[in-house]
């Protein structure tokens, strides 16, 4: 495999197909008028990006993407759409008045990124085909390798993430509940 090439042959074409479909689904998310349609296109986009992750030997992250996004966040979105009764959601206009200005300015905002993309040189790193499977010198699975890095080098961020999830849960309950006076 040539240095710098991440995927070759059929895998490369699969990447092209998945990414084009994911981008099309993303465009459909922001164009669709009804929130349920947006949510379903978002689900499609997440699944295609998960396919790209799996192509990239990130099987664990791909599985987490499907479980958390498709299983958790999507269900949450659809629940909220159900709670707020889509019949009343339909507004006369679904786009802001300045949508044309935003459409023109977004490419300008992206130009610096394209400039960096064209000029930046990455360091040459020797390509290791088993880098995501090696655990202490022997070949294991991707999940095991990720968990070694997660629990050995990033234990503190992991614990902070658990506190963050607790705070988010309490916050969601507090924000979502009706006020006490109205309940009785």
């Amino acid at each position: 495999m040539a240095s710098g090439a991440l995927l070759t042959g059929t895998a490369g074409w699969l990447f092209v197909i998945f990414s084009v479909l994911a981008l099309a689904a993303a465009v459909a998310v922001i164009v669709a008028r009804h929130p349920v349609h947006s949510a379903l296109y978002l689900l499609l986009s997440f699944l295609l990006v998960a396919c790209i992750f799996i192509l990239q030997q990130a099987e664990f992250v791909g599985a987490v993407q499907i479980l958390v996004y498709a299983g958790g966040i999507m269900v949450l979105f659809l629940f909220v759409v159900m709670l707020v009764n889509p019949g009343t959601v339909q507004t006369v206009k679904s786009f802001q008045n300045q949508w044309d200005v935003a459409l023109l300015l977004t490419p300008v905002f992206l130009l610096p990124f394209l400039y960096i993309l064209g000029t930046e040189k990455l360091p040459e790193v020797p390509f290791q085909p088993d880098a995501f499977r090696m655990v202490r010198g022997h070949v294991a699975g991707n999940t095991e390798a990720v968990s070694w890095v997660l629990f050995r080098d990033y234990l503190l961020p992991f614990e902070v993430a658990s506190v963050f999830l607790l705070v988010a849960m309490v916050g969601a309950v507090v924000l979502g509940k009706r006020s006490v006076e109205k309940m009785d």
């Binding site: 990447f15 993303a26 998310v29 790209i52 958390v68 958790g72 707020v84 786009f95 080098d153 507090v174």
Partner: protein, 101 residues
Amino acid sequence: MTVTINHYLIVSLLLFAIGFLGVLVRRNFLTILMSIELMLNAVNLNLIAFSRRLSNLTGQVFSVFVITIAAGEAAIGLALTISYFRQRKTLDVEQAHTMQG
């Protein structure tokens, strides 16, 4: 077809731009939240691509953290959506103009 890191970065850039445009352009609270999720997903794609390019697992671990943050953000955002809908009986963000000068 040979795919290099630049292809990944371009796809991720476009995905981020679409999400960004969605936040700027849409009036529906729910669709704006979905666009934010799209942007987080684009960042994940970048992390995975660089992790592969540099043969370093740290990128994958960080994308797991980003997914965690996205889950928390979705929970808070949707709770806000519900309380906003209770007050205004609509999801149109143009109706939130109480503090307009």
